[in-house]
């Protein structure tokens, strides 16, 4: 009966507010976690101080730097990456009508890996995000070009072309690693391949935020259009949806979003696959609800996964992709079992 009772709207609004508050609280707590103990009050005093709202901060310079320079940007980057991947995943699943679709479907992650690894072995480790971004867009462009050459870029052709590009890029990545990686670069590459937000600063947090601010609104206003895809292209077209235009707009927006996320955090798996499914299980498939809630849940999930990644085995850091997979894979199985019971 979702949305059909007068209470449906209020319930959705309450869920949005509750999750936003949970996200804010999670972020505050996550910043206090780490080798140096910092209180929530100190966290907010520091934030307000930097925003110019508290002129004189009682927090020491060192602790101020730990909050503002080290932990806060990383926490923001984690939330943004989680929100972006969850949103892109939900869009890809709806557009391709494929429940197994994730944001990396069209070769985006393998392309990014190839770009990143190439730069690492060439010694330009600092330029990895640029290489990853260009690599992901190149893979996507190539997949779409091949689909077009096969006789029109339909979703199925694009997915198939994406798979072949993906395989090719992975093979080349493996070759480069095998041939030229030394001990140090090997560890660097591996950590990137498994997904890591280690060392994220304000530039990374800013890029993630800007890409979300640009792409998310485009996707969110198309929620009704995505609903129309539930029974396929023909049915969507007969409901007055411009199928081709909507598809390419949304694909473009989610590819751009994924490209930035992959550049900042590497190919972090399972977030874009599991989060939309979990939210769907709770509130159903109507995208007006699904998309914003997925973003919030994705942000919270990623924030805690990254906090675990950096604190569990302190002082060593785990690549966050390992945490998301360790939590995400069993969660995915649980969701599958729930789906079987209700459908």
């Amino acid at each position: 009966m979702r949305g059909k009772k007068p209470g449906g709207r209020r319930l959705h609004f309450l869920a949005l507010v509750a999750l936003s508050l949970l996200l804010l609280a999670s972020a505050t707590i996550a910043v206090t976690f780490g080798p140096a103990d910092i209180s929530p009050t100190e966290v907010w005093t520091t934030i307000l101080h930097h925003l110019g709202l508290v002129p004189e901060s009682p927090v020491s310079r060192l602790r101020d730097a730990i909050v503002w320079d080290l932990r806060l940007p990383r926490v923001i980057a984690a939330m943004g990456v989680g929100a972006g991947l969850a949103l892109a995943g939900a869009v890809m699943q709806a557009l391709t009508r494929n429940p197994l679709a994730d944001p990396y479907l069209l070769g985006l992650s393998s392309g990014a890996a190839l770009g990143a690894v190439t730069l690492v072995v060439m010694g330009f480790a600092l330029l990895v995000p640029v290489g990853a971004f260009l690599g992901s867009l190149a893979a996507l462009g190539l997949a779409l070009l091949i689909a077009q050459l096969l006789g029109g870029a339909t979703p199925v052709r694009a997915i198939l072309a994406g798979i072949s590009i993906s395989a090719l890029a992975s093979a080349m990545t493996s070759f480069i690693i095998f041939w030229s990686a030394t001990g140090d670069s090997y560890r660097e590459i591996l950590s990137w391949l498994m997904g890591s937000l280690s060392g994220s600063g304000w530039v990374d947090a800013g890029l993630v935020a800007v890409s979300l601010l640009v792409c998310a609104p485009i996707v969110l206003v198309s929620a009704r259009g995505l609903d129309a895809f539930a029974f396929g292209d023909k049915s969507a077209a007969s409901l007055g949806v411009d199928v081709a235009r909507l598809r390419w707009t949304l694909l473009g927006a989610s590819a751009l979003l994924t490209g930035v996320m992959v550049a900042i955090g590497g190919a972090i798996g399972f977030v874009g696959l599991v989060v939309p499914h979990a939210v769907r299980l709770a509130v159903g498939s109507r995208h007006g609800k699904l998309l914003p809630l997925s973003m919030l849940v994705g942000a919270i999930f990623m924030l805690w996964a990254d906090t675990m990644a950096r604190t569990l085995f302190d002082p060593r850091e785990l690549p966050v992709g390992i945490v998301t997979a360790l939590v995400g894979a069993p969660a995915f199985l649980l969701i599958l079992m729930r789906f079987r019971r209700v459908t």
């Binding site: 949305g3 059909k4 449906g8 206003v221 077209a237 007969s238 007055g240 209700v342």
Partner: protein, 258 residues
């Protein structure tokens, strides 16, 4: 009264002409059947009528209004479409599916339906006899129930013209009769119904008007009992058959292939 008018419609796909110079009309308040062998171009012609495909040439009008020149949303408010059997992997309640029919009437960014829309959705479910199913998951329904929900979704568009592509092909005979009775009732209430059908006896029984398509051309149009003559069944379908008078009208008795 003239409802849908199709004139001189050509549809080409990948260089091949699928529909050639199609011309017929579907009157208001009637159930019009579109019949013909597999590959005759029924689905393609229907795609063009509902705006999924653009005809290469020709006119498509409803009560004088030019469907081809219309905006997508405006057209979806006049003309609704039901597929053979449309399934989904999405988790949608019956009410959610019917609510899809309100899309042409809502602003694109609206998350929830207005109360007027909810009234339309409830009314549409009522009309197809599925009022008690609003909260059920669509995927748990039988084929016949799903098809009735699809018709309710089409009715929620508040269309003047309802176009269905073989809506009964996957259903058992009881569900087929239920769907066809439902369509008959909608036409009698003033709607215009056009449907592609395979079963000629059902066409004979339920359609008020019949259009026969063969190899992309309209080869006959008129009242079903006058159109489905033995010579037409032989030339279009390649079957020997006799029309015999049954207790509730004429029935086709098939005797073999030509």
């Amino acid at each position: 009264m003239e409802g849908l008018r199709v004139a001189g419609v050509n549809i080409r796909r990948g260089g091949r002409k699928i529909v050639a110079d199609a011309k017929f009309s579907a009157p208001v308040g009637k159930v019009t059947g579109l019949v013909g062998p597999n590959g005759a171009g029924k689905s393609t012609l229907i795609s063009a009528i509902v705006g999924i495909e653009r005809p290469e040439a020709g006119e498509l009008t409803f009560e004088g209004a030019n469907l081809v020149a219309m905006g997508r949303r405006e057209r979806a408010g006049i003309c609704a479409y039901v597929e053979q059997s449309a399934s989904t992997e999405e988790r949608l309640s019956v009410a959610d599916v019917v609510a899809l029919g309100r899309i042409p009437h809502l602003p694109a960014w609206a998350v929830e339906l207005g109360s007027d829309d909810e009234t339309v959705v409830a009314g549409a479910l009522e009309k197809v006899g599925m009022a008690g199913f609003a909260g059920r998951q669509f995927n748990t329904l039988s084929g016949g129930e799903q098809q009735r929900v699809h018709i309710a979704r089409a009715l929620a568009q508040e269309p003047k013209l309802l176009v269905l592509d073989e809506p009964t092909s996957h259903l058992d005979i009881r569900a087929q009769l239920q769907v066809l009775h439902l369509l008959d009732g909608l036409a009698k209430a003033g709607g215009t119904v056009l449907l592609a059908l395979h079963d000629l006896n059902l066409a004979l029984h339920f359609c008020d008007w019949l259009v026969v398509l063969d190899a992309g051309r309209v080869v006959a149009e008129g009242p079903p009992a006058e159109v489905l003559r033995e010579d037409l069944l032989a030339s279009v379908y390649g079957v020997h058959a006799r029309l015999i008078e049954g207790p509730s009208g004429p029935v086709i008795a098939y005797e073999g292939t030509v």
